[in-house]
């Protein structure tokens, strides 16, 4: 049973399965728009979307910008460098200042858990979480589900392994929840130091060994950051790569390979795996714009009338 559109998208928990499917269905029609010569629809004409990015980002910020523009919204982009944030303005003051422009939506990326939730408390705009610390990155999870659904038809019963630094990954948290809601069986795998205690409570299995990876339908690889070695979470990137790198030899031919980007080539993924036809990395990026258009549409226009797209 489909639910009402939520006011904000802060966590995957804001959506039930029907809500996710509604967004993905709409993303399909927006993907069709991307194939046209004039890639614009008038759905958000005259409305303003603020992108507030407190952290470096290439694909998330550019795809949110494109998504809003393709819906004909006016887009304001604020980055922490060079803004009054740099001068020590609090998040609350920044949000209240920007809210004075009466934006329809604020898209926020922050290094801090719960930042999007706080913003929602201080503004009348719809708030979209574009990543809050190690907590969640719900639009990444939606575009990953979108990409997989196109390939598999349905995620029901699919076995998905998420491999790598689960402890520090907001993508892992959103994806465990989103894959689970769509009926997949999720296993997380990584070095014991990078698997949070009680992660199983999110509804997944956890293992420190790649044994059994061949049973997976989808292998979702997380980025391994260099700093983790400096913090002694792993003894060396060399050993990490030897134990956990997903390479062409470790993949079965029918398995699908995903990664949220940016990739550390030769660390968590080998070059041959990235370049193999099993890899969906390019499709994930492409899905980003259509899915984020659908999220903006869901929150700002609402449930009725797919007709507005046409």
């Amino acid at each position: 049973m489909s639910t009402r559109a939520p006011k904000h998208l802060i966590s995957i928990e804001d959506l039930d399965r029907a809500g996710i499917e509604r967004i993905l269905d709409r993303a399909e029609s927006f993907a069709e728009v991307a194939g046209r010569e004039i890639k614009k629809v008038p759905a958000l004409r005259g409305r303003t979307v603020v992108n507030l990015f407190y952290e470096a980002s290439t694909r998330t910020s550019s795809s949110f910008e494109l998504a809003a523009k393709r819906l004909s919204a006016d887009v304001v982009i604020i980055r922490s460098v060079g803004s009054s944030v740099d001068k020590g303005e609090s998040l609350k003051d920044t949000v209240q200042t920007l809210s004075a422009y009466d934006p329809a939506a604020i898209v926020i990326r922050s290094p801090h858990v719960g930042a999007a939730q706080l913003v929602a408390r201080w503004t009348a705009a719809a708030v979209i979480n574009a990543g809050d610390g190690k907590h969640e990155h719900p639009t990444q999870a939606l575009l990953d589900v979108f990409t997989l659904r196109r390939r598999l038809g349905s995620l029901d019963g699919a076995r998905i392994w998420i491999v790598g630094d689960v402890l520090h990954s907001r993508v892992a948290r959103s994806n465990i929840l989103a894959f689970g809601r769509m009926g997949a069986r999720v296993t997380v795998c990584g070095p014991p130091t990078l698997l949070p205690r009680e992660i199983e409570s999110l509804g997944c299995r956890a293992t420190a060994k790649l044994d059994g990876l061949d049973q997976a339908d989808v292998v979702y690889v997380l980025r391994m950051q260099h700093e983790r070695m400096l913090d002694s979470y792993i003894p060396s990137l060399r050993e990490y790569a030897a134990r956990y790198q997903v390479s062409a030899t470790r993949l079965r031919p029918a398995q699908l390979l995903m990664h949220p980007g940016p990739v550390n080539r030769g660390v968590e993924l080998s070059g041959d795996a990235i370049d193999s036809p099993q890899a969906l990395l390019g499709e994930q990026v492409k899905a980003g714009v259509a899915v984020r258009m659908a999220v903006l549409y869901e929150l700002l226009v609402g449930v009725p009338a797919l007709a507005a797209v046409a």
Partner: protein, 454 residues
């Protein structure tokens, strides 16, 4: 030998109370008192106790008809942060002791992690002087164990004791070095004074901001494992026993710490411990809201930890309740959870929170709660407030049936970062007498001038 509160603690001089509380149910486990009484306060002292309706109206002062209300010995909090000097935007001696009085407390012990730190006799003397002018309830002070809470050099402990320090603590921080703590414990033989310890191994708590468990896994917040606390409790109990010293464990929050404490008591170490209302009633599940009010150190733990701490308080393994009242300004808490400072206020809500969440649910007897809310005095060798003739009037009157929404009327504290904010609690403090003075009376409390004669 216990020292009278008025001798070791400091409070502003005021008018001694003159009143008759008629018909309140007096409950004082130490005096085996548990019945409706008339209580006559003359010149700030308990002059007469009588069965309900037996004491005549006083010739002077006030008559308070208190049938249906309860009177307890006023509470003593061995752990508060009054923020003076240096952080008066959060709290000061006046607002902090007003909050204490509103919560039914007649005495509080202030922590030294101020700016500057209370690590020199001159700072302490100035504070004592300020308290004698501005404190509504009696205030005692602890000095720091190490200079500037730096963990490197001992303070002049003997001189600080002479200047009036009740004891020592680096609260807010652990004494990380076992060698440094050992020297402080040795020095205790010279100067006395309890060493109160905030137990946390920073190598295990690291950058943690909440309890390590299922909720931290879900939220992606760095966790503080329980054993960051319990391993230090075990270490320091062993050190204290070896040196024959006496230590007090502050705000124990988890089951492994309770086990370490039980073990220490069994082996004969001279240890005492406190628990805080929030650890006794709330769990880390609340952190899912990401509200900075639920960020404190030690963090809210799991339900099994909460139950273990309640059991220990009930059995007496944990001696007393301490609020760890830690005010922070609104703008400091209105930031993302990881950025928010640690701490919750607690003085104004301690009784009501514990009464509602533990007594009304059947987890704790009311008499035990009253005992534990006053027992903090004994930890610091102070006389525990009692309802007995000849004692100074340290009383609080409570309406156990009155329900209120926390914070709806504002706070006496300068800060509003209360983890019970918005909850409906039972047990409203109506009147507090501290050191023989009326320190707090609720606006709704009706009183009458006593008629000249009856």
């Amino acid at each position: 030998m216990a020292t009278a509160l008025a001798r070791a603690l400091h409070q502003r001089a005021g008018t001694p109370a003159e009143l008759l509380i008629r018909g309140a149910h007096a409950l004082d486990p130490r005096s085996s008192l548990d019945e409706p009484c008339d209580i006559l306060v003359r010149h700030g002292r308990l002059a007469e106790l009588g069965a309900h309706g037996t004491l005549p109206s006083p010739g002077r002062g006030e008559l308070i008809e208190a049938a249906g209300r309860h009177v307890f010995p006023a509470f003593v909090d061995p752990h508060v942060h009054l923020r003076e000097p240096g952080q008066e935007h959060k709290e000061d001696l006046e607002s902090g002791t007003a909050a204490a009085a509103a919560g039914g407390y007649c005495a509080v012990i202030a922590m030294p992690n101020t700016a500057p730190v209370v690590d020199e006799a001159s700072v302490l003397r100035a504070l004592i002087d300020a308290a004698r002018h501005r404190a509504r309830v009696a205030v005692g002070f602890l000095a720091s164990i190490t200079r500037g809470l730096g963990g490197q050099e001992l303070t002049e402990m003997a001189e600080l004791r002479d200047a009036g320090a009740l004891g020592f603590t680096d609260d807010g921080k652990p004494v990380v070095s076992a060698g440094m703590l050992r020297k402080a414990l040795q020095y205790q033989r010279l100067c006395g004074g309890v060493l109160a310890l905030h137990e946390e191994d920073p190598a295990l708590s690291a950058a943690g901001v909440m309890h390590e468990g299922a909720v931290s896994a879900r939220l992606g917040l760095a966790g503080i494992p329980s054993l960051a606390e319990s391993t230090m409790v075990a270490r320091d109990a062993a050190l204290a026993q070896y040196e024959g010293a006496r230590v007090h464990f502050q705000h124990l929050s988890c089951e492994p710490s309770v086990q370490a404490l039980e073990q220490a008591r069994r082996s004969g170490a001279r240890v005492s411990a406190e628990a805080s209302p929030h650890h006794l009633t709330l769990t880390d599940d609340l952190v899912r809201t990401l509200d900075g009010r639920f960020k404190m150190n030690p963090p809210l733990r799991a339900e099994s930890d909460r139950r273990a701490v309640v059991d220990a308080l009930r059995s007496g393994v944990i001696d007393c309740v301490a609020t760890d009242h830690a005010p922070h300004a609104r703008h400091e808490k209105e930031v993302p959870f990881e950025e928010a400072p640690m701490g919750t206020t607690g003085l104004e809500t301690a009784f009501a929170a514990l009464f509602t969440e533990l007594v009304l649910t059947g987890e704790l007897e009311l008499a035990t709660l009253v005992e534990r809310l006053t027992a903090g005095a004994a930890v610091f060798d102070l006389a525990v407030p009692r309802i007995a003739v000849g004692e100074p009037a340290n009383l609080c009157m409570v309406d156990l049936d009155a329900q209120f929404e926390v914070g709806s009327d504002g706070y006496a504290s300068r800060s509003a970062n209360c983890c019970f904010h918005g909850r409906t609690l039972n047990g409203s403090v109506m009147l507090t007498l501290a050191g023989g003075q009326v320190a707090f009376r609720r606006r709704t409390l009706a009183g009458a001038r006593a008629p000249a004669s009856r």
